[in-house]
Symmetry: C2
Subunit: 213 residues, 2 copies
């Protein structure tokens, strides 16, 4: 896990998310290698991975750049995620059956304790992972994993207030109801609004931040 390639991957990722590398900036393999303390080989590996996850883009002449992260870009990501994960929820409702519903209910019950942000994040990650697994589509799971950059989820949750946590939990419960009854379209809509709502929370926080400056 702490191989050079993983170190390079998480290192570059952090540099981007912390803003040490600005959107649009060119990523030079040698410079990154020196900065992170590994050779260029694992750096190249990490760049390919980050490219698959839309953190990094490559020009036609193979140079790497930090991808844009404007509110429009985040909107695009949340829109795609809402569609794909809505589809996952619909499939989970169709093929998951009572066994899946039971597992989800257990996760939701465990997550219903207090307002600790980290505990909620754990619960949230478990819940969504279970639904995606329940859809039983490897490619869908892979696409979602690439699309959903957990740090964005985290940054969103940090600005959640008590009311928003409760709404999330409420939506999770409704999702379990829909899956339990095998109602694919109900599950799809709940999941879609769940994710779109998360985007708008993020959006408002970003605008508030902008006004402060």
């Amino acid at each position: 896990m702490s191989s050079a390639a993983d170190k390079a991957y998480s290192g570059i990722r952090s540099l981007i998310l912390d803003g040490a590398l600005a959107p649009g900036e060119q990523l030079k393999e040698e410079e990154l290698a020196e900065r992170i303390g590994v050779s260029r080989t694992p750096i190249r590996d990490a760049l390919r991975r980050l490219e698959a996850e839309f953190f990094v883009t490559r020009s036609d002449s193979q140079r790497s750049f930090v991808a844009d992260q404007s509110v429009e870009d985040i909107d695009e990501i949340f829109t795609l995620r809402a569609m794909l994960e809505g589809h996952a929820a619909a499939r989970a409702a169709t093929v998951g059956g009572p066994a899946l519903a039971a597992r989800l209910r257990e996760i939701v019950d465990k997550g219903d304790n207090g307002s600790d942000v980290d505990a909620f994040l754990d619960h949230n990650a478990d819940f969504h992972a279970e639904i995606i697994a329940g859809a039983g589509s490897d490619r869908l799971a892979t696409m979602l994993a690439r699309l959903v950059s957990q740090p964005i989820v985290h940054r969103t949750a940090r600005v959640y207030d008590k009311d928003q946590f409760e709404r999330s939990l409420f939506e999770h419960r409704e999702l379990v109801d829909a899956i339990e009854r095998g109602d694919a379209e109900w599950a799809r809509s709940v999941m879609t609004s769940h994710i779109r709502r998360a985007f708008h929370v993020f959006e408002e926080a970003a605008q508030a931040l902008k006004r402060e400056k």
Copy 2:
């Protein structure tokens, strides 16, 4: 274009599509390197690319395998493609405007000449590319590019008969109508059925092939 990495990429891709490497088979870097005539470095690169395109999967211990290509897998791919490209059509109808409709109509008119398979494939690729570009979402375009393996489109089109070509052209025309009028949901449905229909043509051909054996 004819760099070692590209040679490795298209070489391995061909080996998989020709069946020289069977689904589930392990891909050994050194063996591939020798077979293709480049060193392991570009082979590793190619494997990452093929992994992003769902041709290759990796085990938890970093070994690479040829991905499954069962009818169920193809179904999964077409389903995801129908959803994403349906979304692209809806967005294109919303943001593309008359300019996009005009460009599309030109492409369709050019494609309406005879029953040459290759000409149809060119027309088809142009048409879909224009719509995806018209949606104006880089990440969506990237995801679709990774998901849609042209060889499958080709293999599907090879079994198209005259009637099916005509239906495709008809659907393309209807799509242009929908986009011209800015009707996102109409565009989405036409695109979705267009792609689902293509899957079932492929499916029937695959079953016919199976019965022959």
